[in-house]
Symmetry: D2
Subunit: 280 residues, 4 copies
Amino acid sequence: MPNPFKLASRECKAIDTVIDVGSVRIGGGSLVVMAGPCSVESEQQVLDTARSVAASGAHILRGGAFKPRTSPYSFQGLGEEGLRYLVNAREKTGLPIITEVLEPEEVELVERYADILQVGARNMQNFPLLRRVGQAQKPVMLKRGFANTIEEWLMASEYILAEGNANVMLCERGIRTFETMARNTLDLTAIPLLKRLTHLPVVADPSHATGKWYLVKPMALAAVAAGADALMIEVHPDPDNAWCDGAESLTPTNFAELMPALEAVVTAVGRQMRPTPALV
Amino acid sequence: MPNPFKLASRECKAIDTVIDVGSVRIGGGSLVVMAGPCSVESEQQVLDTARSVAASGAHILRGGAFKPRTSPYSFQGLGEEGLRYLVNAREKTGLPIITEVLEPEEVELVERYADILQVGARNMQNFPLLRRVGQAQKPVMLKRGFANTIEEWLMASEYILAEGNANVMLCERGIRTFETMARNTLDLTAIPLLKRLTHLPVVADPSHATGKWYLVKPMALAAVAAGADALMIEVHPDPDNAWCDGAESLTPTNFAELMPALEAVVTAVGRQMRPTPALV
Amino acid sequence: MPNPFKLASRECKAIDTVIDVGSVRIGGGSLVVMAGPCSVESEQQVLDTARSVAASGAHILRGGAFKPRTSPYSFQGLGEEGLRYLVNAREKTGLPIITEVLEPEEVELVERYADILQVGARNMQNFPLLRRVGQAQKPVMLKRGFANTIEEWLMASEYILAEGNANVMLCERGIRTFETMARNTLDLTAIPLLKRLTHLPVVADPSHATGKWYLVKPMALAAVAAGADALMIEVHPDPDNAWCDGAESLTPTNFAELMPALEAVVTAVGRQMRPTPALV
Amino acid sequence: MPNPFKLASRECKAIDTVIDVGSVRIGGGSLVVMAGPCSVESEQQVLDTARSVAASGAHILRGGAFKPRTSPYSFQGLGEEGLRYLVNAREKTGLPIITEVLEPEEVELVERYADILQVGARNMQNFPLLRRVGQAQKPVMLKRGFANTIEEWLMASEYILAEGNANVMLCERGIRTFETMARNTLDLTAIPLLKRLTHLPVVADPSHATGKWYLVKPMALAAVAAGADALMIEVHPDPDNAWCDGAESLTPTNFAELMPALEAVVTAVGRQMRPTPALV
């Protein structure tokens, strides 16, 4: 292999990395669910979503304040205002928050608010950004680029680890193929491959991968059966009027139905659902 | 959509197709497992494998007698002699048999021995073959071509259905992508998509898709969680000395461990493992 | 490499294979152009097209009588009647004809009419068909499967060569990728790779690859610059009313303009346009 | 189309954009060749390469000072020192220089030295970087992400154009597919598609796309035949000892042979090679 990864490898560290985010532990056997809207739209939207996913047992609140958008003419996120809404929701519900950071200069700001820093698929090989989050004090979730190999993904995690941040998790979110019925092809085979190659926790995002809400539940169950440590699920109180990615968002009701189904499968594979940290 | 499929569609037939193969029913809720060697190598090898997978609860015996091989210089299968070995194993174990047919002229011969006719990935758009198995009296399992869209796959099933054979099942076996760590990328999203679009049973083949035995169990579990009606699993009594695809074959011991794990997951999603028809 | 090709390799035969089709020589330096409609629709349509492409300097007439169609409900070709129309056009114009054969049983029939047997992309790994055309007396043009590697393609040619038919040419016609603006992605890099690996002539089909008539000329010129021995170009007297693939067909006028442009490029790379065999 | 590009479109501006870089004009008919090493290794290496490619007729000197590398343990470039070596070579030869910029904060520094700012494939959707180079005073060459669609590529150029920088050129450098014989699949069909959709100049990079020096010449010729306005070619005085990408680098001798071959093809398609600005 031309690019041997070191710090990310099982050879370097045999035991699973477990990442503590408040009282939530990611990795190490139990299943963690991150849920929330694609983008933060208003204080009320985030709070309503946070309360509903917390009531259903979610562990972490997701929501985008800085949005990477294909078009410069699309909504680019609320920025720091959005981060404040997320913090407000955390205070009201007890759910830690994960949100995306887009550039090295933004890391300091985002780190002041977020509990987990997300590096998105388009930035998987943004090496200055990887180095900068490697110097952060918060855990990092590194999404797989939609055309990146597993080897490249592990090498990207190596950039973060090499700067001293040991709390890295990897998130599979679908790769680009010729098939167009789903937005991307969720590569679940990556999960057992990663569990063999690396000690880092593995997350799956069936919402962005499929782009269709009715595919989220079966693919979430499949990801858990394949060994995922955590899931990332989009939930929106009113998907038809979401500012982005409404077609892939679950309603709070759909999400409430998903959680016990996930618990049944994770139990069937000899693991367990983690208790929610929510103040509910 | 430029090529609307008709007979395969839910619009044409809302209720799930259930295919009876002896006492085995494929589709309709319970899980069916097909297991056996990639290729028939000898009477003893097939019989030993059949007995061991039957003892573990498998429902159908798989084994190739006519093999499509990339190289003309590779082993091409035992032909009719291999079919006789499969029949012998069926008589001794009670397991119905599935085997591949490569060309229209061969269908009559294979149909005399096999319980299910398999059309392989490379032949998914071999239209004369599709028409010919459409005239056969036996059920057909149509594997997805490794670069074919779901729409093309359904159109290929339409060729079979249009000739009058209503007993068609579809088998996802991985698609070609840029990722090379596994042989192909198992597209499990195809399963819930197909369940929505068509009434035909859906099978998954994690062995050929991944090409690595240690990926078979997690991907088999994931396929069941995603909604597969049946699985196709390669089992060989001595994978290190298999004439083809040994690297992806489970040992009888691995397979024996897989079956209860599958039962746990299929139960968790509200379905059940079908009782084996084996004389054990 | 797991599947070393032998007879197709430069190691086996260093000098370029040159295939004689009547007075047309494919391979060996000069450029050959095959042109004609996607499918044979009527005696008049074929004859008109043949006369116009012959007048513009084409060397071989293409036209499908047996058509592989994604849907069983699409036009499947005129069959033997279509072959007779092609022969009629050959007699009137002097252009040898190339046409597709879909199954082993059809080879004998098609061989009686055609000068070159075409094996289409969907049949690149239809091994019984490859063996059967390997026993034919006519040259074979083997199209690359749209998801097949160059290695698999050479191995497929090996099936034909191993049966004794040394007159095989390879036709690049685009591969499947995530890009959807053109129908497929014409992989012109395959041309110099093949010229290095094999002695067999290499053809490019920019019409099927791109699916858009206005991309045919630049991609045809590019294929010649990359080293193609021959081109396959769809021409239809009335593309708007073609029974298949009209969007990618050149009008006779467009084709007449293409030919001198091709001659300029082939001359620029130190080769030459072959004289047409047409009785014009 | 969900993301209509505006400023990049032919609808917005029908006439070709021509970018002046010193006395070199990119776009508008004549062919421009950028050549040089993958990475700047030493003052002497850059100067030697610059002199040899200038003597052969190249127009612009390329060389990386900030290198995006898959592994954090690989050579990451000489940084500002490398930029000074490039400027030294420009002063000695008269060739303008193009070099890559990796992050927004670096733009100011790189802009002080370079004549053209290159945004690499991995940063095609690094939106903060796109915005920042959109505010720069120097032209930008935007490479296509190896898994990005043409539509996304045009939308990425829109980010730059929307900030006020009208001097954007697009560089095709290969996309990821299942084929592994060449590093990537050079998508030359993108060239005529882009020429139809946008007024921006189009560049092709056959060196990075193929990864093999012996494929560079045929693919460079093909790119010109397909309509490329400029080429980017890796040249290294000693490829066997290059610090990166030696396998794809031409020797100065190979490059000297390439230039008249390019001139022959560009003349054949009715255009011409631009005179070199070099002080030779």
